[in-house]
């Protein structure tokens, strides 16, 4: 399985875990093809596809012309021909030229064709900030896609999920927007491939607690775990849930937790206005109204365009802002 591939257990980065998962998918199904800018010889700007073109050939790992709508639009045609394209959008802020193909074509084909045509396409998008990048390289556009009927949207937060979720997304007969937290690409974890994964569209309680439910995903999971550890030192028991799936949202796991804790804080990098937090707050209010002891609070990016990177640490939710929300919630 390649030079850096995992054995039964191995310490592996998130980027390498994705690479290993993609390799497994390419091995498992000859109809799986990868397409994107610089993903072949270079192995992608984050090296997620490193070595795959060398091992699977140019017909299966395709260096695309520099045209995002073209990448997704041709993937639609390949899917209609029976292929399972896995497209890479190089950076979050570059997905918009492909927005029509994703929203009007990929998302709607199964519905328009009354179920006759499937769109088993995965669109991988490195997302989020915190890497000191120039503009258009640090955005969190998940809400656009989660708002679109016909798409499924997931985001991994750690190497183990990355390895499994990419394979599950590729196996899905529905189109999946697959976000990758680019600032966590190089974080490592022990991957034991003999432990089976949980279903793709399920959230996971990553730290149990009793006083407050913290809902987060992608790059914010680590931030929230750090915050929960800090809160614990003050005697507060915070339950952290990694949403993993943003469309559909695993409401059951969330509701079970909030009915227990009575407090909920949502954390994401994306702008707060109409972000995932708004939908989560609405669902929690609808389904946990009599358990709530405080309004659902949101900690998100501010509602300004992503700022110059020298101040991105102020813009992004951090441990202190998350703890501030915990304080405010528990003070009700």
């Amino acid at each position: 399985m390649g030079t850096e591939a995992p054995g039964k257990t191995s310490k592996i980065t998130l980027a390498k875990a994705l690479n290993a998962g993609l390799r497994r998918a390419l091995e498992a199904d000859p109809k799986v093809v990868l397409a994107g800018e610089d993903i072949g010889k270079l192995g992608g700007v984050f090296r997620v596809t490193e070595g795959l073109q060398k091992d699977f050939g140019e017909h299966r790992v395709i260096d695309s012309p520099l045209a995002e709508s073209g990448i997704i639009g041709t993937a639609v045609g390949m899917a209609l021909r029976g292929y399972r394209p896995v497209c890479e959008i190089q950076f979050d802020g570059f997905v918009y030229p492909a927005f029509d193909q994703i929203v009007s074509q990929v998302a709607k084909f199964h519905f328009r064709s009354a179920g006759r045509q499937k769109m088993p396409i995965v669109i991988r998008i490195p997302s989020g900030g915190g890497i000191g990048a120039v503009e258009h390289h640090s955005e969190s556009p998940e809400t656009y896609f989660a708002h679109t009927p016909g798409l499924k949207v997931v985001i991994c937060s750690n190497p183990i999920d990355a390895y499994w979720m990419i394979q599950q997304a590729i196996a899905s007969d529905d189109p999946v927007i697959f976000f990758e937290p680019k600032r966590r690409y190089h974080e490592k974890a022990e991957l034991d491939t003999t432990i089976p994964p949980i279903p793709l569209h399920s959230a996971r309680v990553v730290r149990p607690g009793t006083d407050l439910t913290m809902l987060c995903y992608g790059p914010m999971v680590k931030t929230c775990l750090d915050a929960a550890a800090a809160a614990a030192e003050e005697g507060r028991s915070v339950e952290v849930i990694d949403l993993r799936t943003l469309s559909p949202i695993d409401t059951a796991t969330i509701v079970e937790s909030v009915r227990k804790t009575g407090h909920a804080v949502v954390v994401h990098e994306a702008p707060t206005n109409l972000g995932l937090g708004a939908e989560l707050a609405a669902r929690i209010t609808e389904q946990c109204f009599y358990s709530l002891e405080a309004p659902v609070l949101r900690v998100g990016g501010f509602d300004i365009p992503y700022p110059p990177s020298r101040v991105e640490d102020e813009y992004l939710p951090d441990l202190d802002r998350v703890l501030d929300a915990v304080d405010r919630s528990l003070a009700y």
């Binding site: 041709t74 390949m78 529905d174 949202i249």
Partner: protein, 374 residues
Amino acid sequence: MSNGDPELVQLLTPEGVRIDHPEYAFVGDDESIKGLYRDMVMTRRLDTEATALQRQGELGLWASCLGQEGAQIGSGRAMNASDVVFPTYREHGVAWTLGVDPLQLLGLFRGVDLGGWDSLQTRFHLYTIVIGAQALHATGYAMGIERDGLVGTGDPERDAAVIGYFGDGATSQGDVNEAFIFASSYNAPIVFFCQNNQWAISEPIERQSRIPLYRRASGFGFPGVRVDGNDVLAVHAVTSHALERARSGNGPTLIEAYTYRMGAHTTSDDPTKYRLADELEHWRLKDPIARVRAHLTRTGAADEAFFADVESEADELAARIREGLLSLADPDLVQLFDNVYVEQTPYLAEQQRWYADYSTSFESGDHDVAAGRQ
């Protein structure tokens, strides 16, 4: 047009006289020409009937292909059984050549579905309304054919190609230009078939391009050809050639079928606000059907009985369309939830159940406020 434009491939003049071209020849006998005539008449009748049905309130909208029958039938009949079409929303004639039930085309415009035909079985993919988006789908599909090893096998039964249709307005879209680049870069087995009908709603071709559209192809690295789109024989010859080129592994071709939109853009449009009646009269003399009829009559290949038979068949088609359309059932909103996903989400299933119960509560008379809680 016929004699003044050396760039234009033409094999049958507007007067119905067959002429030779140094590169292209129509392959077919009198019977095949009569078949093309019949196809064009049937397409026109379908189109006329649909326009009438819209005026009577039975269709929400209709996009007429009046005047473009030669371009559509000529290209549609050039395909092999392995070739596949990605249309715009105006290719009613192409759909006819592939056996798509005209009623299913009308269903979309009536609003009972979003494309009721089986595009895999008919090889006619769904109508695409976002301008130019299908050019990329066609290209991707062609890339798939190439990956399947079905290009240049030497076996004409196995080799396959794609025709991607679009109009003159679409050539300004990024997706069409990206499709040209992908197709060229990967040498995909595709024919880009542009019906230049001179108008993109109210905007004339001069607003889209300052050079003849077919010449754009050279900038992308593949051949372009301009054909008289109202000459069904020339369109058939040029398309056959381009498809054969694609199937044998020689890559894409851009065909510019030079034609005219005799009707409005759609039934919602009013072309008298932006174009002159003179122009319409000029093009009426180049009608794609009249010239074939003149040719068949002049050569004696068809007699009055033949033309009467075709007319009678068209009448039957019109009656069948009218009757069938009025009996199309409206869709059930509750059932539409089933096809958003292959694997429905719990959230959507809950919303579907809620709406089913809610709508049923009105029928049973026990609707109450509590039922409105989701």
